[in-house]
C-alpha cells in the first residue's frame, strides 16, 4: 500500500487550511484504508483465485498468488514430469522429477542427469517445486468446451437482451416523455400518474400474471420474454420528462413554422437535446439488464436461452462446484461492468447523485 502511504503524507502536509492534522484526520484515513481493503479485497481475491489451478484452489491456507508445480521435460519420457525438491539420505537436497508414485514410495529421476537412473524416495522426503503461473485454462476451457456451461451462448444472450432492451427502452420512454412534456391532450396527466405510480411496484409483485402473459404470447424460453416486460420503465419516463420540460417550446414552434412534422421534431430536435438524460438512462438500463436475475430465471428454463447471470447461477449450483471455472467465469461476467465504470466513473457517480436513481 505504497499509494496509501503517499496519500497520508500528502494529507499531513496540506489539510483544511493550514491546520495541523489531528486524530480525526487519522481516523478518516484509517476508515478509508480499511474501507478500500474491504471493498476491493474480495474482488481482487476472486481475480487472483481465478488464475489458480484446480489443485491450487484446494490448498489451505490459500497462498496469495497462483502457484503451479513446475513440470520438466526429461529425456526418454514422453510426458512432462512434475518437479520436486528431494531430501536425500545424506541430508543434501536435490531437484528431481517424479516418474511415478507407488504407495508411499516415489520413483524419481534427476532431470539434469537422466542416465543416472531412477531413485526411490519416500514421499515424505519430497516437496513440490512451484512457480507463479497463471492458469489461463480456467478461462479458455469454458470458452471452448464444457458440457453444462455454454459460455458463448450465455454471453450472446446477455448482450442481445442488454442492447435490445436498452434500445427499446430509450425509444419508447423518450417518445412517451416527449408526449407527456410537450403536448396537451386529454388524459395526459392521468397517464403520467399511472406510469409513475408503478415506480415502486417491481415485477416481483406480479410474477405470476406476467408469467401467464409471457406464456400466452409464446415467449417462454424466448429472449423477448425477458426484454419486453421491463421496457416501459417509469424511472426513464420520469427522468426524461423532467429533462424535456426544460427544452423551450419556442424551439418546437419555430420548427413547426418551418414545416417540420411532429415526428421530425421528436427525432431532430428533442432527442439530440435530451442526450444527457438519455445517456444516464442508457447506462442504468445496461446495468439493470446485464445484472437482471429473477425474471430471466423464471422465463428461461432451457440452457440455450440462459443469460450469463442465470447460467452462472446454474453452473455454481451443481453438486460438485467446479470452482476453478466458476471463478474465472465470474470474473468475465463482472469485467464489462467494471470497464464501463472505469471509463464513465465520474459520469455515473454524479448522475446518481443528481438524479437519485439506480
Amino acid at each position: 500500500m505504497a499509494a496509501e502511504r503517499m496519500t497520508i503524507s500528502q494529507f499531513l502536509a496540506n489539510r483544511r487550511g493550514r491546520r495541523r492534522p489531528d486524530t480525526s484526520d487519522l481516523l478518516t484515513y484509517l476508515y478509508l484504508t480499511i474501507g478500500t481493503i474491504l471493498m476491493f479485497g474480495p474482488v481482487l481475491w476472486l481475480v487472483a483465485s481465478s488464475f489458480k489451478t484446480q489443485a491450487g484452489l484446494v490448498k489451505y491456507p490459500p497462498p496469495l498468488l497462483p502457484y503451479q508445480q513446475v513440470q520438466v521435460e526429461v529425456a526418454g519420457f514422453d510426458k512432462m514430469l512434475p518437479l520436486y525438491e528431494v531430501t536425500l539420505e545424506d541430508g543434501t537436497t536435490q531437484e528431481m522429477a517424479q516418474i511415478r508414485r507407488v504407495g508411499i514410495e516415489a520413483r524419481m529421476i534427476d532431470p539434469a542427469n537422466p542416465d543416472a537412473g531412477e531413485t526411490k524416495v519416500n514421499i515424505r522426503q519430497r516437496t513440490p517445486v512451484e512457480e507463479v503461473k497463471l492458469a489461463w485454462e480456467n478461462y479458455l476451457d469454458p470458452l471452448i468446451e464444457l458440457d453444462n456451461f455454454d459460455f458463448f451462448t450465455y454471453l450472446k444472450n446477455s448482450i442481445i437482451v442488454t442492447s435490445v432492451a436498452t434500445a427499446i427502452t430509450l425509444v419508447i420512454n423518450s417518445m412517451a416523455a416527449f408526449a407527456l412534456s410537450k403536448y396537451q391532450f386529454k388524459g395526459r396527466d392521468a397517464i403520467f400518474v399511472l406510469f409513475i405510480s408503478t415506480l415502486m411496484i417491481p415485477i416481483t409483485v406480479i410474477l405470476v400474471p406476467v408469467f401467464l402473459v409471457i406464456t400466452s404470447i409464446g415467449w417462454k424460453n424466448n429472449l423477448w420474454g425477458v426484454i419486453i416486460p421491463g421496457a416501459a420503465t417509469p424511472t426513464g419516463i420520469f427522468l426524461l420528462r423532467q429533462y424535456m420540460l426544460t427544452i423551450p417550446d419556442e424551439l418546437l414552434d419555430a420548427a413547426r413554422i418551418d414545416g417540420a412534422s411532429e415526428w421530425h421534431i421528436y427525432w431532430r430536435i428533442i432527442l439530440p437535446l435530451a442526450r444527457p438524460a438519455l445517456a444516464v438512462l442508457a447506462i442504468f438500463s445496461v446495468m439493470w439488464r446485464w445484472n437482471d436475475f429473477l425474471w430471466p430465471l423464471i422465463v428461461l428454463s432451457q440452457n440455450d436461452y440462459f443469460t450469463l447471470q442465470v447460467g452462472l447461477n446454474a453452473f455454481q449450483g451443481e453438486l460438485q462446484i467446479q470452482w476453478h471455472y466458476v471463478l474465472a467465469m465470474t470474473v468475465v461476467t463482472l469485467l464489462p461492468i467494471t470497464l464501463v465504470f472505469a471509463i464513465l466513473q465520474r459520469f455515473i457517480t454524479t448522475g446518481i447523485a443528481t438524479t437519485g436513481m439506480k
Binding site: T7, S24, T28, Y31, G35, T36, P42, V43, W45, L46, P61, P62, M175, A176, A179, K182, Y183, F185, R188, L194, F195, L199, M200, P202, T204, V205, L207, V208, P209, F211, L212, V213, I228, P229, G230, A232, T235, L239, R256, W263, N291, F293, L294, Q309, L312, N313, L327, T333, L334, F341, Q345, R346, I348, T349, I352, A353, T355, G356, M357, K358
Partner: protein, 332 residues
C-alpha cells in the same frame, strides 16, 4: 458516447430509412388528427407495453390470488375466494411459524423482518459514516468515492459468488481467522453466522449507492452555516449535531425509505449465496413467492400470487410513507 460514433456509417442509413418511413406514415395521420393529438401516438408504444405487462398483470394478480389448483391459465383454475389467504394466515400462534399451515411463508416473513432491520440499519449507519468521511477535505476523493460505489454495479450473482468464495470452509477468511488464533468456521452453515453474512454482503454491495445520495445531501448544505456556527464558537460535534444532522434529515429519510423498499424485496444475492439456508434461516419472502410459484414440483400460482400481494401492500405502505415525508425531487 464518442465510442459509438464508429458505428455511424453502419447505423446511420438504417436509421435514416426508418425515420423517413415512419415520417411518411405519420404525416397524413398528423394532418387528420392535428398536432396535439399526436401526443397519443408518441405515448402509445410505452402505454401498450405498460398496459400489457404491468397494469393488466396487476389486476390479474388479484384474480390469481383467489384461485387454486396448479394450472397456469386462469380458465383452468377453480375460484376459491379467500382460500389462499386463509391458508397463508392459518396459524395457531402468529409468533411461531411452526404452528402455521404455511410455515415457510411465516418463516419468510420473520426472516425478512429480521433481515430488513439489520440490513437497513447497517446501510444507514455505514453510508452515513462513509458520506461524512468522503465529505471531508481528503486527498483523492473521487477515487475513494468510486471504491465504495464499485460493488453497487456488480450483479447480485457475482456479488454472491465473490463472497461464497471468501467464506467457504477452506476459504481466505478462515485462513485469516486462524492467523489471529481463531477457529475456522463453516460461515454459511451456522444459522446465526449465515444471517450475519447475508446482511453483511448486502450492506457491502448496496451501501455505496446510499453513500452517494447522502454525500449529495451533505454537499448541498451551504458552507456559510458552518462559518456562522464557528463564529458562535461551536465545536465539531456541535457542528454535526446542530447544523449537519437537521439539514441532512430529509435526505436520511429518503435513504431510509429507499433502503427499506429494496430490503423487503431482497432475493437474488441470498438465493445464490445461501439458497435460503441453512435450513430456512435466510429464506426471505420473495424466495417464498418464487419457490411456491415457480421452483417446486407443484406450482401453487394462487398461493404465490397471494403472498406477492402481501409484499405489494408492504411496498405500497412504504411508498406512501415516502410521499408523505415530503416530495423530494429525487425519485428512485
Amino acid at each position: 458516447m464518442r465510442l459509438l460514433s464508429i458505428l455511424d456509417p453502419l447505423t446511420r442509413p438504417i436509421l435514416l430509412l426508418l425515420v423517413t418511413v415512419v415520417d411518411r406514415v405519420l404525416t397524413p395521420i398528423q394532418r387528420r388528427i392535428g398536432i396535439d393529438k399526436m401526443g397519443y401516438f408518441f405515448v402509445l408504444p410505452n402505454l401498450l407495453i405498460f398496459g400489457i405487462f404491468v397494469l393488466f398483470p396487476m389486476l390479474l394478480n388479484f384474480y390469481y390470488a383467489m384461485t387454486g389448483g396448479t394450472k397456469l391459465f386462469p380458465e383452468d383454475r377453480p375460484f376459491i375466494g379467500l382460500g389462499n389467504f386463509d391458508n397463508l394466515f392459518d396459524c395457531g400462534d402468529f409468533l411461531s411459524p411452526n404452528s402455521c399451515q404455511e410455515d415457510l411463508f411465516w418463516r419468510g416473513i420473520f426472516n425478512t423482518i429480521q433481515f430488513v432491520i439489520f440490513q437497513v440499519s447497517g446501510i444507514v449507519l455505514f453510508s452515513l459514516i462513509t458520506a461524512l468521511v468522503l465529505n471531508r477535505k481528503i486527498v483523492a476523493r473521487g477515487f475513494f468515492r468510486s471504491v465504495f460505489f464499485y460493488p453497487v454495479l456488480l450483479s447480485p450473482v457475482v456479488v454472491a459468488l465473490i463472497w461464497k468464495w471468501v467464506l467457504q470452509h477452506e476459504g481466505v477468511l478462515n485462513a485469516i481467522v486462524e492467523i489471529f488464533g481463531g477457529e475456522s468456521t463453516r460461515w454459511l452453515l451456522d444459522p446465526n453466522w449465515a444471517l450475519f453474512w447475508v446482511v453483511f454482503v448486502s450492506v457491502w454491495a448496496l451501501m455505496g449507492f446510499y453513500t452517494l445520495i447522502l454525500l449529495a445531501g451533505l454537499q448541498s448544505i451551504p458552507p456559510e452555516l458552518y462559518e456562522a456556527s464557528s463564529i458562535d464558537g461551536a465545536n465539531n460535534w456541535q457542528d454535526f449535531r446542530f447544523v449537519t444532522m437537521p439539514l441532512l434529515m430529509p435526505t436520511m429519510f429518503v435513504v431510509l425509505v429507499l433502503a427499506l423498499i429494496r430490503a423487503v424485496q431482497m432475493f437474488d444475492q441470498i438465493y445464490v449465496l445461501t439458497g435460503g439456508g441453512p435450513g430456512t434461516r435466510t429464506q426471505l419472502l420473495v424466495q417464498y413467492i418464487y419457490t411456491t410459484g415457480f421452483a417446486s414440483q407443484i406450482q401453487l400460482f394462487g398461493l404465490s400470487a397471494a403472498a406477492s400481494m402481501v409484499l405489494g401492500i408492504t411496498l405500497l405502505i412504504l411508498t406512501l410513507l415516502q410521499l408523505r415525508l415530503g416530495n423530494q425531487s429525487s425519485l428512485a
